[in-house]
């Protein structure tokens, strides 16, 4: 079988086409957001919010409300609780995050166990890429486009917030409001990605692409292009791998992203472990020849 037919064969199935579309979309939105998360140092916050939305999604399912609404409410609850525990006790922030998100995640699991239609909800935890329905796809499309549009339109303000919130304040902007905007978008994006890789692995999509792009460039504007391109490519490749190797699709997507990060980490010409050493050796050789 040649390469073209290898690539085309899965596309003969509607569910594969839907899986690829959903994943690519989620991958792009998550990757754009991840650029800010890795620079502010909010990776753990991304982990927390993406887990903490679970009870919100389950409750929304029970009452028949949109998933995104439930997720947003619980993202807000999580962030508030983390702030309260950190500010009003001697517990440090990482511990506060750990306590709050695991508790909320556990609450979500408990809710799932008492809610009748269990098969559906278990998919929220590990994702159900191959079972994406048309309405699912539409939801991901709408939420994804909204999150993406806000991120891109407000990218300069968000970058200012990440880089120098004091200056943002000094010129009359509100760092608090910008931080809240970013958290809201984080909640929204988590919902987008739930469908594809599930609650547990969303955080990978929210960290790895930004971190990979950060190792490849010194310009934020370029990170915003590199991260989604890498992420979408990896995600689609991951789906193909899972199709041919018959492995869990969401996990395969994350594994591919992780593998690409490892390659970049080792070989990036500017920041890579091996790349920089090779460059140093070349310079030394050139210097020796010049003498």
């Amino acid at each position: 079988m040649d390469l073209i037919s290898l690539l085309l064969e899965p596309l003969g199935y509607d569910f594969m086409v839907r899986a690829i579309l959903t994943t690519a979309l989620a991958a792009i939105v998550c990757a754009v957001l991840s650029c800010w998360l890795v620079l502010i140092g909010w990776s753990l916050m991304g982990d927390a919010v993406s887990h903490a939305v679970l009870p919100g999604v389950v409750l929304a399912y029970i009452v028949g409300a949109p998933f995104a609404l439930g997720a947003l409410v619980f993202a807000l609850i999580a962030v508030t609780l983390i702030g309260v525990v950190r500010n009003t006790s001697r517990v440090k922030e990482d511990a506060a995050i750990g306590i709050v998100f695991t508790s909320l995640f556990a609450l979500g699991l408990v809710l799932i166990s008492v809610t009748p239609s269990q098969t559906d909800l278990n998919h929220i935890i590990f994702g159900n890429l191959l079972g994406v329905s048309i309405p699912d796809l539409i939801q991901v499309l709408v939420l994804g486009v909204v999150a993406f549009a806000i991120l891109i339109l407000k990218r300069r303000d968000l970058t200012l917030y990440a880089f120098d919130p004091t200056h943002a304040h000094a010129i009359g902007l509100s760092p608090k409001r910008l931080g809240a905007l970013l958290l809201g978008l984080l909640a929204l994006t988590s919902v987008v990605a739930l469908q594809t890789v599930g609650v547990v692995l969303v955080v990978a999509m929210l960290i790895i692409p930004g971190a990979t792009a950060y190792l490849l460039t010194d310009r934020f504007s370029r990170m915003l292009v590199i991260a989604p391109v890498i992420s979408a490519t990896c995600s689609i490749a991951g789906i193909y791998f899972s199709y041919y190797l018959d492995t869990a699709s969401g996990a395969m997507v994350v594994l591919t992203q992780g593998a690409v990060f490892a390659v970049v980490y080792l070989f990036s010409p500017r920041q890579g472990l091996i790349g920089t050493r090779l460059a140093k050796a070349r310079r030394r050789k050139a210097a020796a020849l010049a003498v």
Partner: protein
């Protein structure tokens, strides 16, 4: 006051009637800790004022109060006679952060950072206009960083980094600049360049407040100096404020014991007693 009243650009209300910065009996607590205790300070337009005090004396808190980042428990801050929020909205306040407060690995170029000074003048998405680009180019030229405009900010020297942030304030059109430890980690030549630059800005009408450990540079740079120890102990001519017996009030009595008669050695010793890297470098390197 009257001497400064004439050359201000026309505004609806002549700003020079009010001091550029008025800190009136400001008290700030962080939980149980008292950071500022009835601090009062009035600074005229187009003056350069050095703010001296050891760590924990409330220098950063005073900056935050002036920018309106913290609400004082008591007292008030007025900028050109109005609450700080108005000056912020007008883009009047430029801020040059301490080096430790900046992520130098952040993937931004020098030009990107200076452009952030223009955000207050721009629309919803902060898309730069021709005028914005021109203002950034001018500001870069002014601080002599044009050739480094496309460098990532971490790849500048200590002095160039400071100038990049000063350029951001210039591009912003700030009429008041707050500089937090601008000479920490800066070599002597850059220090002279920055001093010259700040004097130029002041002669254009910019009011400048500098917190510093570098007592040696103070008389060349500043028109006046303030000794801070949770409250303003002294405000006056730098030469007078730097007298050893006055420094002793802010830095502790050991300054007097170690320094002897001359006045410059006193300045040298005051730095290390403040207990920071900036202070000790001021003590060891500036003995000409």
């Amino acid at each position: 006051m009257i001497a400064h009243a004439t050359p201000r650009p026309a505004t609806a209300e002549p700003a020079a009637l009010h001091p550029a910065i008025l800190v009136d009996n400001v008290t700030v607590h962080y939980g149980e800790v008292l950071a500022l205790d009835g601090a009062s300070l009035s600074l005229d337009h187009a003056r350069i004022c050095g703010l001296i005090g050891m760590n924990g004396s409330g220098k950063s808190t005073l900056f935050k109060a002036i920018m309106g980042m913290i609400k004082p428990d008591a007292g008030r801050v007025l900028i050109n006679g109005a609450p700080p929020a108005k000056a912020r909205k007008e883009g009047g306040i430029g801020y040059v952060p301490q080096s430790e407060d900046v992520d130098w690995q952040f993937p931004l170029s020098v030009r990107d950072v200076v452009m952030m000074g223009r955000y207050g003048h721009q629309g919803f998405t902060r898309r730069p206009s021709k005028a914005d680009r021109a203002a950034v180019d001018d500001a870069l030229e002014r601080v002599e960083l044009s050739e480094f405009a496309n460098r990532q900010i971490g790849q500048l020297s200590g002095g160039q980094k400071k100038r990049a942030f000063v350029a951001r304030g210039i591009a912003q059109g700030a009429t008041m600049m707050l500089l937090d430890e601008p000479f920490a980690g800066v070599d002597k030549r850059s220090e002279a360049t920055i001093t010259r630059l700040l004097r130029e800005l002041a002669s254009d009408g910019c009011t400048i407040l500098i917190s510093t450990h570098d007592l040696h540079a103070l008389p060349h740079l500043c028109d006046e100096a303030v000794l801070l120890m949770r409250k303003v102990l002294m405000h006056g001519d730098p030469e007078v404020v730097l007298q050893p017996e006055n420094l002793a009030m802010a830095f502790g009595l050991d300054v007097l014991n170690r320094s002897g008669a001359g006045h410059h050695p006193a300045a040298r010793h005051a730095g290390p007693s403040a207990g920071t890297a900036a202070g000790s470098s001021a003590g060891t390197e500036r003995r000409n």
